[in-house]
């Protein structure tokens, strides 16, 4: 079974995120890392390919400046190869443009199963994978907290407001996974060394046969009007517990008439 895992490479969330004042796009100049949200998809892809008794995991990523650091992490975990789409024309892409690019790149890998995260850490639209599915004419199951493959179908436990649904879907299909579905492995030293030699195919917008005016800032059908600091919620009183802080909580609850 061949699996494509979509992996986003993002600025380190531990650092500070800033917007470019000229166009309000998130600054993505520095080193990018593998979005933690996608490490679950990579692990899931590796496990499912192993269970199916063969097949490869191909990574697909769209990122600026030919960035591969995040891809190398996922390759070190065990993915076989990667397709990277990098092109200055893609700066400022909205979710739909991103989906068009990913869909075109995914097609080249002819996968049986496509895995993505339910939402990215820096963009969190949560719509890109479904847009990809629609563009590829495939079914999708989002918010999967358990995924198994049996024969030519995938069985998924999909989160709902009140619990979960068991959903079956024939392959090929798109599945998005939540954090916590599996425990992502740490790349081994051997894995890290091997990753350096694994193939990363880099493509431009025209390689994918897409029109540059339909993607990136040029194709975005939305714009940021303004960004301003939000009204901050003020911090109240902070007390250090000396064994009687619970009384302060009781008093506070009385004051707001909860008790």
């Amino acid at each position: 079974m061949n699996v494509v895992v979509c992996v986003k490479q993002i600025p380190d969330p531990a650092g500070t995120y800033t917007l470019d004042p000229s166009n309000h796009n998130l600054v993505r100049d520095g080193k990018l890392i593998l979005d933690d949200s996608d490490s679950y998809g990579v692990e899931m892809g590796l496990q499912l390919a192993e269970q199916a008794g063969g097949g490869e995991v191909t990574l697909v990523s769209m990122a600026p400046n030919s960035e591969t650091s995040g891809l190398r992490t996922a390759l070190a975990m065990g993915a076989a190869r990667a397709i990277l789409v990098s092109d200055p024309a893609l700066a400022g892409s909205d979710a739909l443009s991103t989906a068009k690019v990913l869909a075109a790149a995914i097609k080249r890998a002819e996968p049986d199963l496509i895995i993505a995260a339910t939402e990215s850490t820096d963009g969190y639209t949560g719509t890109t994978p479904v847009q990809v599915a629609e563009l590829l004419g495939l079914p999708a199951v989002t918010f999967s907290k358990k995924v198994t493959v049996s024969g030519d179908k995938v069985v998924v436990e999909r989160q709902t407001e009140e619990g979960y649904d068991q959903v079956e879907v024939p392959l090929p299909a798109v599945v998005t996974v939540t954090a916590g579905v599996v425990e992502p492995r740490y790349p081994s030293f051997k894995g890290i060394m091997a990753a350096k030699g694994k193939p990363v195919e880099e493509l431009s917008v025209s390689d994918l046969g897409l029109d540059a005016s339909a993607v990136g800032a040029a194709g975005a059908g939305q714009e940021v009007v303004s960004v301003a600091p939000a009204e901050a919620r003020k911090a109240g009183e902070v007390v250090v517990d000396e064994g009687d802080a619970f009384q302060q909580i009781v008093a506070y609850l009385e004051k707001i008439k909860v008790i």
Binding site: A95, T127, P139, A230
Partner: protein, 322 residues
């Protein structure tokens, strides 16, 4: 009024209308002359209710036959749009099904989506949206530049639902075109996680636990405290991922948005993704052993202490009162 027509996708939980749908209908009615609802399943059962929140019509795509709502609803809407007279805007909830519907519709009609919307207002050239970014420290305003309809994916609890006094909405059925492979997923069974007490997103008191509880068994402290306060127990994602509590307990960006009278965060650091789900609570109490924990920056009462000491004492004290 800014707009002529807004379509609102009405999400269902079983046969019930999701509360977020009533919030979206209320907002839509403030922005447009005509509001129509789109749903699945039996629409006559909800015609009175959506009508009383301002929808004049409710269109259903019919029985899903075990399929997921996303493909059918998106395809039916796209068909209506290409047949003429599209609305200016389509409102969808940032929920499980809502994101599926919006994503599929976006690709079908080749229009972008604006997601995580927390407010909308009339502006130059149409609606201007508001998004809370960087954990709610900044507000970003955006708008569509593509031709209508714009697809707006809106977070729950962004608006208070208010009835309009309108009569029952007119029911009709929208045909779903042949879906082919995109509609191939089937729900085989549904599992409801039973909870006692009020629902997490409706409770006046929410007591949430995080990784600071140390272990799964200590979540009992959270449940006990919630019960004493007639509230609902919640959780950070860290302990949902760890399997301590079911996902339906999660508060935050990917979980539920709550706005209780008081939110009590126990052993929760206050990550941006957690805060977007609870920072609009009327009162916030936090217990955390780390004085530097970000949760203290938004807490009305912060207790620097050990949850395993403070919570049992608090529970004891409340028991003694009753």
């Amino acid at each position: 009024m800014a707009l002529n027509t807004i379509w609102v996708v009405v999400d269902r939980t079983g046969d019930k209308v999701a509360s977020v749908a009533l919030e979206l209908l209320t907002k839509a009615r403030q922005l447009a002359g005509t509001v129509e609802a789109i749903t699945w399943g039996d629409a006559s059962a909800i015609a009175d209710q959506v009508g009383s929140y301002g929808a004049t019509a409710v269109h259903t795509v019919g029985d899903l036959g075990g399929g997921l709502p996303g493909p059918a609803v998106a395809a039916a809407i796209a068909e209506r749009i290409s047949a003429g007279s599209p609305p200016e805007a389509i409102f969808v909830a940032q929920s499980y099904n809502g994101r599926d519907i919006a994503g599929r519709l976006s690709a079908r009609i080749d229009r972008p989506v604006l997601t995580n919307v927390v407010n909308l207002a009339e502006g130059d050239g149409g609606l201007v949206t508001e998004h809370a970014i960087f954990g709610g420290t900044e507000i970003l305003n955006a708008r569509f530049t593509a031709s209508a309809p714009g697809i707006y994916v809106i977070r729950a609890k962004s608006f208070a639902p208010e009835q309009s006094g309108g009569g029952a909405a007119q029911v009709d059925t929208w045909d779903v075109p042949e879906l082919g492979a995109v509609g191939a997923a089937r729900i085989v069974s549904s599992h409801v996680e039973e909870t006692e007490g009020p629902k997490l997103d409706e409770a006046a008191v929410v007591v949430s636990g995080g990784r600071g509880l140390g272990d799964a068994d200590s979540y009992k402290l959270i449940e006990d405290l919630a019960k004493l306060l007639k509230g609902a127990p919640g959780a950070s994602r860290a302990i949902v991922d760890a399997g301590w509590v079911p996902y339906s307990h999660q508060v935050g960006q990917t979980g539920k948005t709550v706005k209780p009278t008081v939110y009590i965060a126990c052993g929760i650091s206050g990550a941006t993704q957690h805060m977007v789900g609870m920072k609009s609570s009327k009162n916030i109490i936090a217990v955390n052993k780390d004085q530097e924990a970000p949760i203290f920056t938004i807490a009305d009462l912060g207790v620097v202490g050990d949850v395993k000491k403070v919570l049992p004492q608090l529970i004891e004290a409340l028991k003694n009162r009753s």
